[in-house]
């Protein structure tokens, strides 16, 4: 199997081979074959009488020591994955909320309010009086309301209840899956899945859905607070891929997720080019992004994304990366080992995320700019140790237009119809110019040739006039392959879709079409796409589970992706997953996720590793819904 479809990644893999450097692909190979019980979700390690595993071929034990069935074990494992994903997304949100609270109290002066309109919009949405309020106090109130979402209370999570359709709220109430506390529901999953507690697979999965809705709330909060502190993204153009690294500059890669760190580094870097030049780097400082931090700083500052997900190690192999600064999530510990072979300084910054072999500089929000300066100086120091013999930058970049927040999309539509912005979109869907909408999310996965799932699905769906949205490393894949451009529209879009993207592009004053895929942000930003869908649903008075809207994570990797997929299903969407999740060992669980759940929420999982077949199934789901709507 080819490791990556990305030309720059391919070039760097040759370097890795030449230098004998081990990458994620080699380690995955070394892991083969992987534990079949684990792949099936049939291993239970939740008590000291275990581990227990169930023989999927029926010859060995049918239950664990305690009597838990295959379905119980699979459901518990899945629920815990959702809880972990929720904890990660909402931890990211909580970090922003604490920062905003400090900022409101004047304890974090480096985080001034950036977007007052968004602050007011969010505050009024979650029920905080807005009129006549001073922004500093309002920031404090919104931060406090956000933090309250993590605590035990008796009311539904505001960030979920106020952002979905009324129909969804009713459905969630009906099935008892309305979360009231983000941390509470994560803890509840840990409780109900512990030894001798919830053994009913359906009940456990409903618990998982409730947790996933808390994940949704946490993600929505993260996006909202980031926009308030750092600005609502607007379309920007940048180059993408490893070719954005510069031989003559001090290169710093920002890797991880939270703009609390990266945004400040970007701000401070603009003031430190001279220091870099003084160290001999004629090009000054060159900041690049990796993974979703890359998406955050791309959307708000036009920082070029170097690479994403499975290819993160390869950035170091260029020999010109002087520092990689990370916060949390999706950061492979192997980066320290790869960095050891080069001069690259790996810098960890978060107290909950340290890596052996990395330099740890604790990032303090109260002294954010000072922390950022210290980190940048480390990079400049490292630059002095760069070994010219090891420099090998792949000569490859693509153009990428990014930064389509829901606000941006709605204002673009308003350029077409000022009084009723959603009307053109709805009209085009009704007429079939747009067959449906697909949101691509999730990571790369080493099991899949990097980007192959994303690219194949996008091409299949674009040809059939499906409007494509993307977030996270999926959006990153499209950036590196030139699909975030109007050129890609000409190459891949069906005529209806091409006409719509062209018309909106003209209306907003571009002399080009909108890009084939609309980059809506980092992986924590999936609710931006949900907001658009909810707006359409509310406008039409048709709930989400009837709209021709689908989602796909063709190369999903993380527990966060499982949580997202689960809330997307609960939101009523058919959700394609291109990697088989560890659920097949529980036949009832597997069938509930792919079929039974449809009766409860309208959404369901489509597990299909073949991207072309996956596209067919998504198109079929879209067409079924169009037929049901009579369009």
């Amino acid at each position: 199997m080819e490791r990556s479809l990305d030309i720059a990644s391919q070039a760097m893999l040759k370097v890795a081979q030449h230098r004998g450097i081990t990458t994620v692909w080699d380690r995955f190979q070394a892991q083969q074959p992987q534990c079949g019980f684990g792949l099936m979700g049939l291993c239970c390690r939740m008590c000291l009488q275990g581990p227990c595993r169930i023989d999927p071929f029926g010859e060995g034990p049918r239950t664990g020591t305690c009597g838990a069935s295959a379905d119980t074990i699979v459901a518990r494992n899945l629920a815990r994955m959702i809880a972990a994903g929720t904890a990660a997304h909402s931890g990211h949100a909580k970090h922003l909320a604490h920062t905003m609270l400090k900022a409101s109290r004047g304890e974090a002066p480096d985080y001034p309010l950036k977007d007052e309109a968004k602050l007011r919009a969010v505050a009024s949405r979650v029920g905080i009086p807005v009129d006549g309020r001073d922004t500093q106090a309002l920031m404090g109130d919104v931060a406090a309301a956000a933090l309250a979402e993590f605590s035990e209370k008796e009311t539904p999570l505001a960030w979920a209840a106020t952002t979905v359709t009324p129909g969804r709220v009713q459905t969630f109430l009906k099935h008892g899956v309305v979360p009231t506390s983000i941390d509470g529901v994560v803890a509840e999953i840990m409780h109900r899945t512990t030894y001798g507690t919830d053994a009913d697979p359906v009940n456990i999965l409903l618990g998982g859905v409730k947790c996933a809705l808390a994940d949704y709330a946490g993600m929505h909060m993260a996006t909202d607070l980031a926009d308030i502190l750092f600005g609502v993204p607007k379309p920007v153009m940048a180059r993408a891929n490893l070719g954005v690294l510069k031989a003559e500059a001090v290169n710093i890669a920002l890797h991880g997720h939270n703009p609390v760190l990266s945004d400040v580094i970007v701000q401070v870097a603009s003031e430190m080019h001279e220091e870099a030049r003084a160290a001999g780097a004629a090009g000054g400082l060159n900041l690049v992004g990796i993974c979703c931090t890359g998406n955050e700083v791309l959307m708000r500052h036009g920082i070029p994304p170097a690479t994403h997900s499975v290819s993160q190690e390869l950035a170091i192999l260029t020999g010109v990366l002087d520092a990689m600064v990370v916060d949390y999530q999706c950061i492979m510990p192997s980066l320290a080992n790869v960095a050891e072979c080069y001069h690259t300084q790996l810098v960890t910054t978060m107290p909950i995320s340290k890596i052996p072999g990395a330099r740890h500089i604790e990032f303090r929000e109260g002294h954010a700019r000072a922390s950022a300066r210290e980190i940048i100086r480390l990079a400049i120091d490292a630059y002095r140790r760069r070994d010219p013999a090891k420099v090998s930058i792949p000569d490859h970049t693509s153009t990428a237009v990014a930064g389509f927040s829901s606000e941006t999309i709605l204002s673009a539509l308003a350029a077409v119809n000022k009084d009723d912005p959603l009307k053109p979109l709805i009209d085009h869907i009704a007429s079939g110019n747009i067959l449906g909408i697909c949101l691509f999310a999730g990571c790369n996965n080493v099991r899949v040739t990097q980007d192959s799932g994303f690219l194949a699905l996008a091409k299949e769906l674009a040809r059939e006039n499906v409007l494509l949205l993307a977030t996270g490393c999926g959006a990153g894949a499209y950036a590196r392959h030139g699909l975030l451009t109007s050129d890609a529209v000409r190459e891949y879009a069906g005529s209806g879709l091409a006409a719509v993207l062209g018309a909106v592009g003209q209306a907003v004053g571009l002399d080009a079409s909108l890009p084939l895929v609309l980059h809506m942000g980092s992986c924590v930003d999936n609710t931006r796409a949900a907001d658009v869908a909810v707006a359409v649903a509310n406008k039409l008075g048709v709930d989400l589970d009837r709209l021709p809207v689908v989602a796909s994570a063709p190369e999903a990797t993380t527990e966060k992706a499982i949580a997202i997929g689960t809330w997307a299903v609960a939101a009523g969407l058919p959700v394609h997953v291109g990697v088989v999740p560890p659920v097949l060992g529980g036949p009832a669980v597997a069938s509930l996720l792919t079929e039974g759940v449809k009766e409860l929420f309208g959404g369901y999982f489509i597990v299909e590793p073949d991207p072309v077949a996956g596209a067919k199934k998504l198109l079929q789901a879209i067409r079924e819904r169009r037929t049901a709507l009579g369009i």
Binding site: C35, G36, L39, D55, F57, E59, V580, L584
Partner: protein, 167 residues
């Protein structure tokens, strides 16, 4: 002839060999698909435990194989085209279970083939260079080697242990 040998100190009892065996003997040879096959594929080796040790029990393809001697329909035979593997022609198996009755290791089971129950025994993976169980073992507890190579491994291990005790 190469045999499958076992480094007992390395077996963690994970049963990956059993899964790999079943998958190798499925129609699809793919785990995710195999679990949905009818009939379900059967494994031909067994990880047991005794005296606190995990002991994978595998067909030895014995020189004086009792199953071969006892087979009363000529289904079990020695395949000299494959170094003398004790093989089976499923179409000749009448499901009398005499082989199960005489195998002292208890490594013959029953499986459905073409609607009939026939004996399920290790075939040393005719489609593979290295048997699936050996390849699946994450700790390399299973060793596919000529007896001479195996003896060398055992000697080396003993020497190392001894050296460790002395030194």
């Amino acid at each position: 002839m190469k045999h499958i040998f076992v480094r007992l100190d390395r077996c963690t009892g994970c049963r990956e060999c059993e899964l790999a065996c079943a998958v190798e003997h499925s129609a699809s040879k793919d785990l995710f698909t195999a679990i949905f096959e009818t009939p379900l594929p059967r494994k031909r080796l067994y990880v047991e435990s005794a005296d606190g040790r995990n002991i994978p029990i595998l067909c030895r393809h014995c020189d004086d194989a009792p199953c071969l001697a006892a087979c009363l329909s000529g289904a079990i035979y020695r395949d000299w085209t494959r170094e003398g593997v004790v093989a089976q022609r499923a179409d000749k198996c009448i499901g009398c279970w005499t082989c199960i009755m005489v195998c002292p290791y208890g490594v013959i089971g029953r499986r459905l083939e073409g609607g009939r129950w026939v004996a399920a025994k290790c075939d040393r993976c005719p489609d593979r260079a290295i048997p699936a169980c050996v390849e699946a073992c994450p700790t390399k507890a299973l060793v596919y080697a000529e007896p001479e190579e195996w003896a060398a491994i055992v000697r080396r291990t003993a020497a190392t242990t001894l050296a460790g005790q002395v030194g």
